[in-house]
């Protein structure tokens, strides 16, 4: 336990609502370990995970080594991925003073997806969705906009690639499941809008690359895109050209 008596709790993926309600108590300081936490080098994870591995889970390990939470809730069910199952094992070994709690989130109550469909810059919108994981309360009503583009996928390791999208981009895929608090809802994850040009994104080396590529091939105006730790020039140029040539 730390000096301030608040327990430092890390979350990986989306633990069940019952866990998030517990962590909403002032006794906990919560860290979303999927997201970069300050200036932590992802290379600190390299002794423990292969370099050719999901950038999000490498970030989880790097964050965990730096923060050393008292407890980590890591979702290892179908709402996250097999890589998280193995990462939980690694964390257990390298952080003997941290309690690792594996969860399987089968929550099926729809909280709604107002952020996914509202007009807002996409970086801000995605940040609000990832932040919403820690808020176990119903959302406020937000005005919906007509979509002109789509972003399907998970919150990327590098949010800078989201800067290139118009504010009227709707979010689909697992990020939509995040906001809805139903991370293993595959039907919701697979939904896309065939009427707007859509970028189907997955982290490199993630199993979701298969789904992203498959759905992009079914979409009339879909672009499959994968990206590892940081978005390089070719990744950004692909997005920019795709949107530009689609009339954005």
């Amino acid at each position: 336990m730390n000096e301030n008596k608040r327990q430092r709790a890390g979350i990986v993926g989306i633990p069940p609502l019952s866990v998030m309600e517990l962590l909403a108590s002032p006794e906990y300081e919560v860290f979303d370990l999927d997201e970069p936490q300050g200036k932590t080098s992802i290379e600190t994870a390299s002794p423990f995970l292969p370099k050719v591995y999901c950038g999000i889970l490498r970030t989880v390990v790097a964050n965990s080594l730096k923060i050393k939470p008292d407890i980590i809730y890591i979702d290892t069910g179908s709402g996250k991925c097999d890589c998280a199952v193995h990462t939980a094992t690694v964390l257990e070994d390298i952080l003997p003073n941290t309690r690792i709690v594996r969860t399987r989130n089968h929550d099926a109550t729809d909280f709604g997806i107002p952020l996914c469909r509202t007009k807002m810059n996409l970086m801000g919108k995605m940040a609000a969705i990832t932040a919403s994981v820690q808020i176990p309360f119903p959302y406020e009503d937000i005005m919906e906009c007509t979509p002109t583009a789509g972003f399907w996928g998970v919150p990327p390791r590098d949010f800078s690639l989201l800067k290139l999208f118009p504010d009227t981009t709707h979010i689909y895929g697992w990020a939509r499941c995040m906001e809805n608090k139903t991370p293993d809802n595959l039907d919701l994850e697979m939904h896309f809008n065939p009427h707007v040009p859509t970028v189907f994104f997955a982290q490199s080396f993630c199993a979701k690359t298969a789904l992203a590529r498959h759905l992009a091939s079914k979409h009339p105006y879909g672009l499959y895109l994968d990206c590892d730790v940081t978005a390089g020039n070719s990744v950004k140029a692909k997005i920019q050209a795709f949107l530009e040539l689609s009339g954005m």
Partner: protein
């Protein structure tokens, strides 16, 4: 107005107020301090121009202008990277740009021709190929084949065919490929594709830049 496509190995320049054909100059001969153009593309282009056009955008616009069809796949094989655009019913359908694990293909092919003293224009397309995902990693196949008794020319030809097949896969195996870039002049490479190839030459991106002049 001076337009330029600043590639890794060669720079392509065109003065729109001149009737002369575009100029091709080696990138390493450019005077970095004095070079300035009006509109540029290519991965070195941002530093030399006030207006920069994304390479994929320039490629797509150039293809639309030169090909004149509503459905096509245009593949650009450069020194450093490969990229493609696919149009269907006049709309962008798909695109890709591989500057990482598919990189250095054109560069490696040129390097091998010089290193082994080969003449690609006089070499036959081999029946088989190496399974290659990138120019750099594919090199080991050549060394292994030579050690196992194949001639250097045979091994390099299989390498070149492997690169062509990899580019074909990357472009999602279209029925016909419109080809752009310096490798259009490489008959061994062009002949190694398993589909018809229509070569458009090195100046497709410049053509795309020209259309920028008429964009709103």
């Amino acid at each position: 107005m001076l337009l330029a496509d600043f590639g890794t190995s060669y720079c392509k320049l065109q003065d729109t107020e001149s009737s002369e054909l575009p100029r091709l100059i080696a990138t390493n001969t450019i005077d970095r301090k004095s070079m300035q153009v009006d509109i540029a593309t290519g991965h070195n282009g941002k530093r030399y121009a006030a207006q920069y056009v994304n390479e994929l955008t320039a490629l797509a616009r150039g293809g639309l202008q030169l090909i004149g069809k509503k459905a096509f796949t245009l593949l650009d094989c450069g020194s450093r990277d490969i990229k493609y655009v696919t149009y269907d019913d006049g709309k962008i359908k798909d695109m890709g740009w591989n500057a990482e694990c598919g990189a250095s293909m054109g560069f490696t092919i040129e390097l091998l021709e010089k290193y082994y003293g080969l003449d690609f224009s006089a070499m036959a397309v081999p029946d088989s190929s190496f399974s290659i995902t990138c120019g750099v990693l594919g090199m080991s196949h050549i060394f292994d084949a030579v050690v196992n008794g194949e001639s250097e020319a045979e091994a390099v030809a299989k390498f070149v065919k492997g690169i062509a097949l990899n580019a074909y896969d990357f472009a999602k195996r279209p029925e016909t490929i419109y080809l752009s870039g310096g490798l259009c002049d490489n008959l061994l490479f062009v002949g190694s594709f398993p589909c018809p190839i229509i070569s458009l030459g090195r100046f497709v991106l410049l053509e795309g830049l020209k259309t920028t002049l008429t964009q709103p």
